[in-house]
Amino acid sequence: MNTVEFTLVVAIGSFFAGMLGSLTGLGGGVVIVPLLTLVFGVDIRYAIGASLVSVIATSSGAAAAYLREGYSNMRVGMFLEVATTVGALSGAFIAGYVSTSAIAIIFGVVLLYSAYTSFGGPKEPEKGLAPDPVATFLRLDGTFPADRVRGAGDAISVAAGGASGAREAYHVRNVPAGFGLMYLAGLLSGLLGIGSGAVKVLAMDQAMKIPFKVSTTTSNFMIGVTAAASAGIYLRRGYIDPGLALPVMLGVLAGALTGALILPGAKVKTLRMVFGVVIAALGVQMIFEGVRGKL
């Protein structure tokens, strides 16, 4: 393959990764690194650099659409970004000392976990919880539009007779646990060049009991900031190669936008299952190649 052919093939692969990532809500970044390393034989460090760039692009590109809906919680997002950016800096720092085989194995485990979440799907947290003193002090509690039900077959229960503009209140719980899990999400993002959507959902939905739509949109908002925190370090380390970032960034971005356009008519549940199987297979192969020391 010459340069033009290689660029085109990687762009097409990235396009499908971005489209599936946006349709399933799992993010395209999680398959970019396995795609580049396992299929195109790219060194995992270049792959992580290119993936990180695509993660910033999709997060920031999708933000405008998400924000208009009025679901995201700015204070929750900013407060947790302290944890994710510190985590991302630690991850990028550690990456300089960990062998590429170890990174491949950790990557495989994260892929398997993401595949597991894509089958179960996140549970909507219980409602009507009492306020939490830490969350009250930090003014994290919020409201979200109760009358609009949209998108991916999400089980958002609608407030009875929700008139236009009605908003449902929620209380944020377990702030320290959520903060700790967000540090982990940031660490994995910085170490592996991914958005860590699966861990963020674990922190916000399961630990902090934030409603699903609020956590999804807020976490999308945070992913770009988290990735930008480690991107500066990776750029200086020479992990971000322009010839590779070119097709990956533009491919994933075009794919994600296409995914958002065709989302209303898509069979999201089936897609999540298919994507889950693909991710699981890639995870096993990453672990296998990591153990063999081939990555």
């Binding site: 195109f40 995201s72 700015m74 990028a92 300089g96 930008a228 925190a229 750029l235 190669d241 971005l253």
Partner: protein, 129 residues
């Protein structure tokens, strides 16, 4: 955004969303322009990614990238687009801080300042490699 109107969270979020989208659009156009140019000149051997050598300083330091982009080096132009992309969420955090200041929410001005400091540290601290 007019300072006379007290911005509600949601109005401000919409502004931030547009800011992010504009940043990504500009970054993508710069990368696309540099990329087309790079591909039109790519006749020699393909860049090799199997073994990691690290991107040279001309394409991995802020100084090198700005210098190369001014000289219209296609690869430096791509890297400049990527820098714009990285700067986009940083700008969002900066504007969030202004938004919280307009609401006189000093606790969150502080929280946002911490995030901003961490981001700037990552971008500009040359001892972290």
């Amino acid at each position: 955004m007019p300072a006379a109107i007290k911005p509600t969270d949601q109005q401000f979020e919409i502004f931030l969303g547009k800011l992010l989208r504009t940043g990504v659009l500009i970054a993508a156009l710069i990368v696309l322009a540099g990329g087309m140019w790079f591909l039109s000149e790519a006749h020699g051997a393909r860049r090799e990614y199997k073994t990691f050598r690290g991107v040279p300083a001309e394409l991995s330091s802020l100084q090198g990238i700005f210098h190369g982009a001014v000289e219209w080096e296609p690869l430096a132009v791509i890297q400049l687009g990527i820098l714009v992309l990285i700067a986009t969420p940083v700008a969002r955090v900066l504007f969030s801080m202004l938004g919280f200041a307009l609401e006189r929410d000093w606790m969150y001005v502080g929280v946002t300042a911490i995030v901003l400091a961490l981001l700037l540290y990552s971008l500009f601290n040359h001892s972290t490699r």
